[in-house]
């Protein structure tokens, strides 16, 4: 399940309230989600959740579900 906090970060990036987000949502499903917004979201997630990504970890993220799982794993460490 995607947390409200993560949804809020993504919606804020695209300035779109009604955007439908779930575990399977991929970057290509969201109009305007490109390399710049991707980095912006990653930086925001790092800041909000107090975690740090390594480049390879980002490459392995395929959808929002993966990102959520990564945040949870990092938080429990």
């Amino acid at each position: 399940m995607i947390s409200e906090k993560l949804k809020e970060i993504v919606r804020h990036e695209f300035d779109a309230e009604g955007i439908d987000l779930n575990d399977d949502t991929m970057a290509t499903d969201v109009p305007g989600w490109d390399s710049f917004s991707h980095i912006s979201i990653i930086h925001r997630v790092e800041k909000e959740f107090g975690i740090r990504f390594k480049p390879l970890e980002i490459i392995s993220l395929k959808n929002l579900g993966d990102l959520q799982a990564f945040i949870e794993r990092s938080a429990s460490k």
Binding site: E13, F14, D15, G32, D34, S35, F36, S37, H38, I39, I42, H43, E46, F53, K54, P55, L56, E57, I58, I59, S60
Partner: protein
Amino acid sequence: MIFTSYTYALFLFLVLLIYWGISAKWRKRFLIFASYTFFCSWKWQYGFLLLGLSVFNWAYGRWVIKKNGQRKYLWPGIVVNVSILVIFKYTKFIVQNISFVNVRLGGNPFSIPNILLPLGISFFTFQGVAYLVDVASGERPFIKLTDYLLFKAFWPQLIAGPIIRPREIHDQIENERKWSNENIEYGLKRILSGFFKKVVLADNLAPLVDAVFLKSASPGFIDMAAGVLGFGLQIYFDFSAYSDIAIGSARLFGYRFPENFNWPYLATSPREFWSSWHMTLSRWIRDYLFTPLAVSFRGAKAYMLLAVMISMGVCGLWHGAAWTFVIWGLWHGLLLISGELLFPQKKKRRPSIGYMIKYSGWVFTMVGVFIGWLLFRAESIGAIQRIFKSVSMAPLLKPQLMRENQLILVATIFLFTFFVNLLKKLGWQAKMRSSQFWLEVRPLVMPLIYAVAVAIIIIADTGSKAFVYFQF
């Protein structure tokens, strides 16, 4: 063996016939054999390079990275792939530059090595890097060597992409491909479209463009503008034709490749251009270069811009071992950054202002992209200077090289391309296709269109010219 040749048509027909005629268990091996035949028909010795690098990447992914699960083992694998690319593609460039500096310092010039560039090396080494990075980041590696050899060597994507990611084709290679009439129909249509774009459009634009960029030419402004516009069209038709034939050929054997182009000349921002031009390369640059750099440079916005410039500089250098390509890449880096500043897309606006920004964004992007093609096409920095000098000395609106009919030809092809693209993008073409009238006339009209297209291709064929992207 060039895609748009009778030799290739015969090769494709024979391989297709045998492929679907033999038992399913032999098909993959047969495709590998056919792919190496295709590759070696150009220079057989480099077949060993491809085979060696393929076996290395397969073994490294499976036995070193996956087994150890440690990311530090990734780097040596990347170094091997990149070194092969550097040795074959950039040795001459590096020695030339060192020699240039040495001469400036009062030394003697070095002898410049002349290494023949193996076809497709930029593509298959980049794909090798991507494969190892994907495996290191958790993607499952190919277990069987034959599966990996096919992934790497399958000829439609071997020479000039699309640069396929393992996850896009892994299941397709592991599971038996089934004959389907739809696949054959789709594949043939794409191949025909590719032949038309290359033989009729790109190859006929080429001589007009070449005339402007000749060393002895003295173009005026109109000639240069038409030459640059013509080259932008030529390279688009050339490369998207190659991609059409690649995607179409693969589909005949039951394989689906990712798309490489999505109407790039309608892009309303530089970033939209790069997400619709050579899409499988731009996502490579994004995933394996820009994102890791931007994440490592976290924090200040200035570092993000630096990541853009480095990524686009490398993107330029990937296209060719010359400073003009680096400048072209950096120019696109600047375009991307200024596009972000001038036309931010995310903010909510009134529709009228939104449209205005979109249209001015399109003009900005196209002017930037076509100026970029001048840098891309010029053979050296000296050639760019020569062209500008000649333009500045000639009368502004009087063509020096091109005849009126040639100018009209370039303008017509541009307008035709623009409107066809626009119809597709606005969804009008899809609407027309589902109309009752079209459904009724389609069985009559389509065979006629295909027959006319084939006839035009045969008439327009001026001898197979190599694809522009083969030199990369």
